[in-house]
Symmetry: C2
Subunit: 447 residues, 2 copies
């Protein structure tokens, strides 16, 4: 298999690229349908037959292969420097951190800055690109998979949890997972539930801008994540990204309380209804008082099974509840409703919800507001939903609630046990804040 | 029909309340299942047989009627002061503002502060409760309906638009609509599309805390809304609520760019991807430069039809696309996908989406990030979705996009015209910001 094939090119695209003697990393001029594109040839991940080129703007485009496409090589890409002359040496006294790659913009930085496409994820190549890492940790890299984060599903979470568990059991001081940002918060929730009793930090990290753009956040995020994995006093699953739109600090969010809140900003990830674990500048400063301490003697318990039979349904005005009946007929075992306000859906849904619960489906309710806490005791609608057997998700994010229900139904078939798991705080997904305590007084203690 | 019946009590509950000689507004002690509740008797709206009592905490609870329930009247409620001795006089020189009530916490303030349950929405009673209004506008009240906002649907939007149009055509200077907060942003988007070319402001207003709680925001929100309706230099649909958690200012958001972002905070409504219209302190200060000016000579065009055949589907890891096929089989004509990041769904969905579009279903894509702009030209996934015929919702909120698609399919059966309407900026739902212009350069002009 030639390099171009190994990097995903097939058929007509492969033929054209070979004809012009192109390698990945080369600068090409491609004419198609009257337009001329100039950019760097990129690998072709995923399906499709297009040729992928990174434009000067930093964006990748896919150019469809037709008989009209012409390719001219303008220049050779910089060849990977497998051993850079001044490559920093790994310091055996520093913490041992494994960086796993799963795909996404952050991996593409490391891949394409120097044109060192396949090798960049070796520890040496990574250090060649981000030499600062050598002062922070003894890094090792591990390729897990390379998929767009929107294509992640339950089996990928399970596989990833297994790979992390293996390294943690070997005694590493921390794990960093490079991940596409789109569904990174779902994965961080999944790992939070799957990896119980973690002795060390496991930090997901992504990037909003790829490295050839001047505003790239890839290197700073990675440095912050590696520092947190190697040095932070907490154990558990975190997610490290920019704290603000400046480069001043990287913040580590709790894996179950974080949400992607903006399509493009570098501080897109926000902790919702709770403080982040920590902020990373030249050292790790804890922000939260509620965390498990790092403890290499703690024994990891792996619970990596997730059910495929769980769905999320967002409520809105005019919502037709027949979709709930459809999901029940399809054999779904869990439904998360994203209700309005304090946790409401229209009364027209009550019959379908009641029927689902009668058939053993577990129904949870979160709020589409995102911020705040579901409180179903304030209005009739909420109380009636509780009466039907709906589980209030309190201040847990809808997305975390979905992942938790997939996980709970992966642990047991017993509906009662699933509901018990949902109500327990398994991985910091519920905040035990003043509001909750006040709420407890109001609603559990009568007047 | 006695007062208790008129206020929703039936059967056993009615019997018990009559037996204890209770009226709505009275202070009761109710014993049930070993617990004793003290509170004010409230009307019973909606289904169910419980007795509704407002506790000292400010929350309403429903006490189920069983043979074990005992009721004791502790005191009479304050009787409504139909003509308060010092009731401020309406000043005919002030702007004429109609306050319409549709339900929600804000209406309950006016209802229950003095115990004046049914009459409080007359102009005099309203002035008795919020006398400040008399210095701002010549207020008139109009009862439209009293429903929980989670029960609102398309026909309610149409009815409300008709009622507003009637008053606007009569020449009022502004309209205020008291509304439950849960789905208020959906209604503000619906009215924005239905009431085209408005000559005056139409301001939705709600409250997060009812008036008998010390932290109530009902009066301040109402005062701000009436001032904006009567005095503001803009025309169009706005939504007035607290700007922050302090009482300093009321902010008026654009009807199509606003979202409920917290379950309980008073500043729960936030303008997303755009500035609010205005801030209201002792006068109205415009914050946005992009608005239609108030112009009583402009002719309102009423477009109040909304389709029932539109659904919203939120994407997540493990999402099974068969629900898209289900909706197509059900005869849905529009689907809004809430994708991840810049506008992505997993490749496993492509076949179902393509099939839907082939059958004439209009499919729009918004981002579940909430903030930012869908940009489907950056990654393959987005480009492939555009290739299938998906309409990118740019920086329009998913909720606004849903309402807009319901509205567009209410205007025409022609799929092409619907797509044209979706792409046009009809009511400020798209921001024409720098990012969009830069984006146009990148993606429409080639390199």
């Amino acid at each position: 298999m030639c390099e171009l094939e190994g990097l995903g090119y097939r058929g007509k695209a492969l033929e054209l690229l070979r004809g012009a003697d192109c390698s990945v990393g080369d600068i090409l001029e491609i004419s198609s349908r009257g337009r001329v594109y100039e950019g760097i040839l990129m690998p072709r991940f995923g399906a499709g037959a297009a040729i992928i080129v990174k434009l000067k703007s930093g964006y990748n485009i896919g150019i469809e292969v037709t008989d009209m496409v012409e390719i001219k090589r303008l220049g050779r890409g910089a060849k990977p420097a497998f051993v850079a002359p001044l490559l920093p040496k790994q310091n055996p006294a520093l913490p041992h951190v494994v960086i796993m790659s799963t795909g996404g913009t952050i991996a593409s930085r490391v891949d394409y800055r120097t044109g060192a496409v396949r090798s960049a994820m070796s520890a040496n190549d990574l250090l060649g690109v981000v030499p600062e890492l050598a002062d922070i940790a003894r890094v090792e890299t591990e390729f897990v998979f390379s998929i767009y984060s929107e294509d992640f599903c339950q089996r990928d979470w399970s596989e990833l949890a297994l790979r992390v568990a293996k390294r943690v059991e070997e005694g590493v001081d921390g794990v960093v997972i490079a991940h596409g940002t789109d569904t990174m918060a779902y994965t961080s929730a999944a790992l939070s539930f799957a990896l119980q009793g973690l002795p060390v930090p496991v930090i997901l990290v992504g990037a909003q801008r790829s490295s050839d753009r001047p505003s790239s956040d890839a290197a700073t995020n990675l440095i912050g994540a590696v520092r947190a994995a190697g040095e932070a006093p907490f154990a558990g699953v975190g997610l490290a990204m920019h704290e603000s739109i400046s480069d001043a600090a990287i913040v580590v969010h709790r894996g179950t309380k974080v949400r992607k809140c903006h399509t493009s900003r570098r501080d897109t990830f926000q902790s919702v209804n709770g403080l982040p674990f920590a902020v990373v500048e030249d050292r790790v400063v804890m922000l939260s008082e509620h965390y498990q301490r790092r403890d290499p003697s703690r024994r990891l318990v792996l619970r990596q099974k997730f059910s495929d039979a769980v769905v999320l349904v967002k409520f809105y005005p005019g919502f037709d509840p027949s979709v709930i009946d459809f999901y029940v007929a399809q054999g779904m075992r869990g439904i998360v409703l994203e209700g309005s306000g304090l946790g409401h859906v229209s009364r027209v849904c009550f019959e379908s919800i009641g029927r689902a619960i009668d058939r053993g489906v577990v129904v949870g309710l979160a709020s589409q507001c995102v911020g705040g806490r579901v409180n179903m005791n304030v209005y009739d609608t909420g109380r009636d939903l509780l009466g039907l057997g709906v589980v209030a998700f309190e201040d847990m994010l809808a997305e975390t609630g979905l992942v938790k229900l997939m996980w709970a139904l992966g642990q047991t078939d017993d509906t009662r046990q699933v509901v018990e798991l949902l109500r327990a705080d398994v991985a910091g997904e519920y905040s035990c804040c003043t509001l909750l305590r006040e709420g407890s007084l109001h609603y559990r203690g009568g007047l």
